[in-house]
Amino acid sequence: MALPVDIEALDKAFSGIGVDEKSLISILTNSNEEHKKSLRKGSSKLFIEDAKGFERSDQSSIKILKHQFKRFKDAVMLSVLHPWERDARLIEKAIRKGPKHYNVIVEMACTRSSDQLLGARKAYHSLFHHSIEEHLVTHIKGRERKLLVALVSAYRFDGPGVNEDVAKSEAQILYEAINNGEKNKLLDHEDAIMILATRSKQHLQALYQHYNQSYDKTLAQDLEGEGILKDTVECLCTPQTYFTRVLEAAVKEDADEESKRSLTRVIVTQKEQLVKEGFVPNKIQDILLGLYKDFMLASIASGDIK
């Protein structure tokens, strides 16, 4: 193949989410040493000119490549693990990695069924010899701790029979907490945390409706900028909004590595919902590459197989 075409193809093989394995095989196995030298010289992202006269690999770019190659493996692991172990490991990792990952803890605690969350807690015991709550309080010193511990400890009732009066009055409590109190004190607001952490999802969804009707804006809107509080409300009341947001952040132009990883997690763990709600961004077709792309698209396609 002509060199400029190859250089472009090589670049493209690494420029999405995942890696275009087929393209790489075709380019590299058909290149002799001279051709490869030219490839390296032409790939300014991956190789830099070394003072000693050779094209040296750029380590930070290679590191990014490692992430790309790892995606397929991560997808397989997430897919094959028992959901309890899977969620327990995701939570443990999120705790270790810090505040930017706390939304994953919220996601695990709030988008799973009560029994699935219980299962994850059991698996956590077996895997890490501590309870999730214990690790949360040990590793998280910030103000998010209270809410996260409460969410992870919940065993919510799942069923009909919401008391609309209570839902309405609790919507008011939240409204006042958000609009009258100091906004940055929300994470310390005991009543707000109790409501969000102990009420059933059905109750909270009714509360969400009342909030909207009474105050002409949604609870999520009112929590704009409030990090995990907003995540909590979305995951419990409008999970499709949350997942759409995560997926769109993953396929954005300047998406960071963590956002891209969320793609794997959400597609593998939510595939049934994805098909039902139809909120997979169209961009996915263009931006995913290789075996990883095949795995993701097949996951979505098979989503309605029970």
Binding site: L118, H129, H130, V149, A150, S153, G161, M194, A197, T198
Partner: protein, 314 residues
């Protein structure tokens, strides 16, 4: 160890028939009821209920509720339920009181194993269509609420591992809290509701070694705010549940007028667990056998049932 005396061979069919006979016609044969149910474990009692339903198309529990009354009925009702269901009922009764019985909620959440507490939470939902933590949160306030919700929501690691550094540092925190009486409630709640029971034992032991007295002694007294009143049984239950139960029994009998609710609750919930050990503690502490104290303070069929559960021979 358990106190109830269960025969080697049991026929749940024969039992169901015997109970039917006891309830048929005028009056009820309470002795027969006690002699069957008082000598059956949880699995057997459940099978008897199923057999009864099968044979007579009637819920045995409903039948007993209609035939019996008073403290005896309450005791039989609690005894015949599955342990998890029973705890759910006890918790709900405690929560719905005008002045909730916090110590009962503490007792259930701190003396049951982690798996047992999960079963209670499931049973509670099945019965009351709310989560246990939801109802506790709705009926309590302040730091007491924080403590109770945390305790009922806990799913403690049930392993043997102990971290001595943690025991050391948390014993310090507990001591500072107790000494200053300016309770850093957040820290105490965190420690007591998240640590495994083995870890807490290590921490309490460390406390005792460092300060020459147990933490429960340091917390003694009858006064104090609501939080303190809930904190004491929490630490007692986590530190030494049998000792805690002995105290509840002692207090329930000693009072002018017996506290039947407490008496029933402890005997019914521990008869298949550790009531034997509690009996020994009681005797050591009071120089009077528990059976004797109970016999003195109760009457009739209620007394007969309690004594049977305590292991008395018929």
């Amino acid at each position: 160890m358990a106190t109830i005396d269960v025969p080697e061979q049991v026929s749940v069919l024969a039992d169901a028939e015997a109970l039917r006979k006891a309830c048929k016609g005028w009056g009820t044969d309470e002795k027969a009821i006690i002699s069957v149910l008082g000598h059956r474990n949880a699995v057997q009692r459940k099978q008897i209920r199923l057999a009864y339903e099968d044979l007579y198309q009637e819920d045995l529990i409903k039948r007993l509720e209609s035939e019996l009354s008073g403290d005896f009925e309450k005791a039989v009702y609690r005894w015949i339920l599955d342990p998890a269901d029973r705890d759910a009922v006890l918790a709900n009764v405690a929560i719905k009181k005008l002045s909730p019985d916090h110590h009962v909620i503490v007792e259930i959440s701190c003396t049951r194993s982690p798996e047992e507490l999960l079963a209670v939470r499931r049973a509670y939902q099945a019965r009351y269509k709310h989560s246990l933590e939801e109802d506790v949160a709705a009926h309590t306030k302040g730091d007491t609420r924080k403590l109770l919700v945390a305790l009922v929501s806990a799913f403690r690691f049930d392993g043997e591992e102990i971290d001595t550094r943690v025991a050391n540092s948390e014993a310090k925190i507990l001591h500072e809290t107790v000494k200053d009486k300016e309770f850093n409630h957040e820290e105490i709640i965190r420690i007591l509701s998240t640590r495994s029971k083995m870890q807490l034992m290590a921490t309490f032991n460390r406390y005792r070694d460092d300060h020459g007295t147990t933490i429960t002694k340091n917390l003694e007294g009858d006064s104090g705010d609501e939080f303190l009143k809930t904190l004491r049984p929490t630490i007692r239950c986590l530190n030494d549940p049998k000792k805690y139960f002995e105290k509840v029994l002692r207090n329930s009998i000693r009072r002018v007028g017996t506290d039947e609710d407490a008496l029933t609750r402890v005997i019914v919930t521990r008869a298949e667990k550790d009531l034997k050990d509690v009996k020994e503690l009681y005797y050591k502490r009071n120089s009077v056998p528990l059976d004797q104290a109970v016999a003195k303070d109760t009457t009739g069929d209620y007394k007969a049932l309690l004594l049977t559960l305590l292991g008395k021979e018929d």
